[in-house]
């Protein structure tokens, strides 16, 4: 991140009182909030269309879901070189920079929402589809009367994590530099960078307060929306395992009621995998509209695929042989950096996990603590870490330095990664405990089990799917934290935060020095390895979770 990008925005603006540009800050907060919310809205609308396409065409569904699963497991930063090449180089100008920022925020918020809508569309009860067929509803009627209302609770469930993710990436998306050129678009990320460069700490404090107020308003709005969404749009469906009188939290859309209050939309990942993906509309394949729709959507999907392959080939061909030689020679160093980064990510995840298992359990089992603690953590988690981390850095640097000496910056980078990502595994575990069948709690109490015995035999297995999904999200977000922290020039007090080596640092340095080829190659290697990791580790764990650790299967009822 290059602060200083928005200096011109921060100085001499109207509405400045005692050196604090109130008006600019307020407008910047609003611009950023509108940017994040508008992109979420765009994700929702595009998601409806794509999800409908997916339930209508098997080909499209396979391509769509495979791509989402890959992109979802790849951190936002992987898209950075693409952004630079397409938006900054090809489009250019203010529009290019604005679109680049929008695209980065979009990639941070979109996957959860698209997947949630797809899941909702796939699980519309047969009876509803029968009604639609019975009355020969067209596309718009089906969407407005059945599919869209049915997807609302799931959208509500995914809004909170999307808002958090969107705000998190503000600082890297609104202002970035390539070589000597700094690109910035108006928003609070840029504004904070500018204020930091001016050392205008009162201005930054003001920005935090205004941003805090807006975040609280957004969270309250989301809570209210999710409550209304669940009350109005939740449908009781015929699920294989239902407890009388109590909803099966993870199996009904009522999950949204819990999920929408925290950053756990990503955990829907688990839910989706164990859902039988039976398309109710397959029952009505005699409908001639389906066949035509399939062909059209299939052609569109194929065209997109061809375009992607063509662009990739064009890009590869445009790189000279000597450039390729340079990139290959750098590969061992990049992989060494990746190894170091994996160790950092694992350390962050391990600490997050330990804290989640203790604090998460404490919260989940003490209603009063939970009542106040969870909203506070929700608000903090929606606050973008990169915005306030320079102050933490400034405040604790001497203390950390006195303890860790040469490892001070390494420790601070890990702290940044931790702050950026702890919430996912925390919420994962907390929600897993909340979703545990009430009977399990009674049995643990009945047998007078101690903490470790409860954890070993009941709680950890019960929450395993949630933990895996939480850990996966934590790992993914930790990469974002490292990307920001491993090389942060002029973070505060004239200091530069950096680690001695790491892939994220190499990518950061390559980007800021204008070496786009190296940044892109590093990102490509990173994306490939993360995708393989996702397929080998995450999916296996998810499979294990769905085969063995499904707490609801322990409750048998008719």
């Amino acid at each position: 991140m290059i602060p200083g990008a928005g200096v011109l925005l921060a100085t001499s603006s109207p509405g400045t009182i005692n050196g604090i540009p109130f008006l600019t800050i307020t407008l910047a907060v609003l611009a950023t909030s509108i940017r994040v919310l508008a992109l979420i809205l765009l994700s929702i609308i595009s998601g409806w269309l794509l999800a409908y396409g997916a339930i209508k065409s098997k080909i499209f569904e396979n391509v769509f879901i495979s791509l989402i699963e890959i992109f979802e497991s790849v951190p936002v930063i992987t898209f950075f070189p693409v952004v630079l090449i397409i938006f900054v180089n090809r489009i250019g100008g203010e529009l290019g920079v604005e679109l680049a920022a929008d695209f980065l925020v979009f990639t941070a918020v979109v996957w959860n929402i698209w997947m949630g809508e797809y899941q909702a569309f796939k699980t519309v009860p047969n009876e509803m589809v029968e009604v639609a067929n019975n009355y020969d509803y067209g596309f718009l009627d089906r969407m407005s009367m059945i599919y869209i209302p049915f997807s609302i609770p799931r959208i509500a469930a995914n809004l909170f994590p999307s808002v958090s993710d969107g705000f998190f990436y503000i600082t890297v998306s609104e202002v970035f530099s390539i070589g000597l050129t700094t690109y910035a678009t108006f928003g609070i990320g840029t504004e904070i960078s500018a204020l930091l460069a001016e050392s205008n700490y009162y201005g930054i404090l003001t920005a935090f307060i205004i941003m805090g107020l807006v975040i609280v308003v957004i969270i309250l709005g989301l809570r209210s929306f999710s409550e209304r969404a669940v009350a109005r749009y939740t449908v009781d469906t015929d699920m294989p395992i239902m407890r009388r009188g109590k909803p099966r939290i993870r199996q009904t859309a009522r999950l949204s009621a819990v999920a929408s209050l925290n950053t756990l939309g990503k955990l829907a990942k688990y839910n989706r995998e164990r859902r039988p993906q039976k398309d109710p509309e397959e029952l009505f394949s005699t409908n001639p509209r389906n066949g035509k729709g399939n062909i059209i959507i299939g052609i569109i999907a194929l065209a997109i695929l061809v375009y992607i392959v063509y662009s990739a080939v064009e890009l590869i061909m445009s790189v000279s042989a000597s450039e390729w030689g340079y990139l290959f020679s750098k590969t061992p160093y990049l992989l060494y950096g990746l190894l170091l980064d994996y160790i950092r990510v694992l350390s962050i995840t391990a600490v997050s996990l330990v804290l989640a298992l203790t604090l998460g359990y404490y919260f989940a089992t003490r209603r009063r603590v939970e009542k106040f603690g969870i909203p506070i953590i929700q608000t903090i988690s929606a606050y973008p870490v990169p915005a306030y981390f320079p102050f933490i850095f400034l405040g604790i640097y001497p203390f950390v330095d006195s303890i860790f000496g040469p490892y001070t910056e390494e420790s601070l980078v890990l702290l940044l990664g931790f702050l950026a990502t702890f919430y996912y595994v925390f919420y994962g575990f907390w929600m897993g405990v909340k979703a545990m069948p009430a009977e399990y709690n009674e049995i643990m109490r009945n047998l007078d089990m101690g903490f470790f015995r409860k954890m070993r035999y009941v709680i950890l297995p019960s929450t395993f799917p949630y933990l895996i999904a939480g850990i996966t999200s934590t790992v993914n977000s930790a990469w974002g934290g490292l990307e920001i922290g491993e090389y942060w020039p002029n973070i505060a007090g004239g200091k530069t935060l950096q680690v001695h080596a790491g892939l994220m640092k190499t990518i950061d340095l390559a980007t800021s020095s204008g070496n786009i080829a190296l940044a892109a190659w590093g990102s490509f290697l990173f994306a490939m390895i993360v995708a393989v990791y996702s397929i080998i580790f995450t999916r296996k764990m998810m499979d294990l979770a769905k085969k063995k650790y499904v707490a609801e299967e322990g409750i048998y009822s008719v």
Partner: protein
């Protein structure tokens, strides 16, 4: 077990029970019946100390029961097993709390499974079992804790009629066999036929706030058949208690 002057209200302020008094004697199978929504399951949870009463107390051997204990074991209405554990491991869960050697835990668990007629099924996972078998595992788990009191919350409600009937026929002998330290069984049910088939004493819960409106002793010789005229008469009697608006205590 004895319940003395027990009052309870939900968090929303709704008073569920007032002046509940009942005594479950040693060696007896006790049933609590009442109309739907009267609070039968809630009362069972108060007996197990899963909930705290507003007033009054639950006594076991004259001492107040203040928190859940393996001495008072609960069998749930929804059949509860842990899907990541085999039948034997599910049962062993309640034995492990006694910190016994591994061999002994295995021995007790196997014996409990044998008692409920599941010998040879030790290594099956719950999803490989029928509903009836799962409920037997849940009963075995409760029995392996060696409770004095067994609380059963509509234990046959989620079984098909044939399976339920099979388990009903076995359950009395399973619970009160000579190996079992069990003293009393307290079952909640809305199924009057199964109540008459199994119980020695029936408490009828009714009203709002609910209280015990009648106690009925059933002395029909075992095994009991619904075709027995005495069975029918008892059915009518219980039914009348449940449908009367005001009932005097017997």
């Amino acid at each position: 077990m004895e319940v003395v002057d027990l009052d309870f209200r939900y968090e929303n302020g709704y008073k569920v029970f007032q002046d509940i008094n009942l005594k479950a004697e040693k060696g007896k199978f006790v049933a609590i019946v009442g109309p739907s929504g009267v609070g039968k399951s809630t009362l069972l949870r108060l007996l197990g100390a899963f909930l705290k009463p507003e007033k009054g107390q639950v006594l076991l051997h004259g001492k107040p029961v203040l928190r859940p204990t393996p001495l008072i074991s609960m069998v749930h209405q929804s059949i509860v097993t842990f899907p990541w554990m085999t039948a034997e491991e599910n049962v062993a869960l309640s034995v492990k709390t006694r910190n016994l050697p591994k061999d002994r835990v295995k021995e007790i668990s196997s014996h409990a499974l044998e008692m409920v007629g599941l010998q040879g099924f030790n290594d099956l996972y719950p999803k490989e079992m029928s509903g009836g078998m799962r409920q037997r595992v849940a009963v075995a788990r409760s029995l392996a804790a060696e409770p004095k009191i067994l609380l059963m919350d509509e234990p046959f409600a989620h079984l098909d009629e044939l399976t339920a009937e099979g388990l009903r026929q076995d359950i009395y002998n399973i619970l009160f066999n000579e190996d079992s330290p069990l003293e009393t069984v307290i079952m909640v049910s809305h199924n009057l036929t199964e109540v008459i088939e199994l119980s020695d004493t029936v408490f009828i819960l009714n009203g709002s706030p609910a209280t015990i409106v009648a106690k009925v002793d059933i002395d029909i010789p075992r095994p009991r058949s619904p075709r027995d005229p005495a069975f029918d008469q008892m059915l009518d009697r219980l039914y009348s208690y449940l449908t009367k608006k005001e009932v005097k205590k017997q």
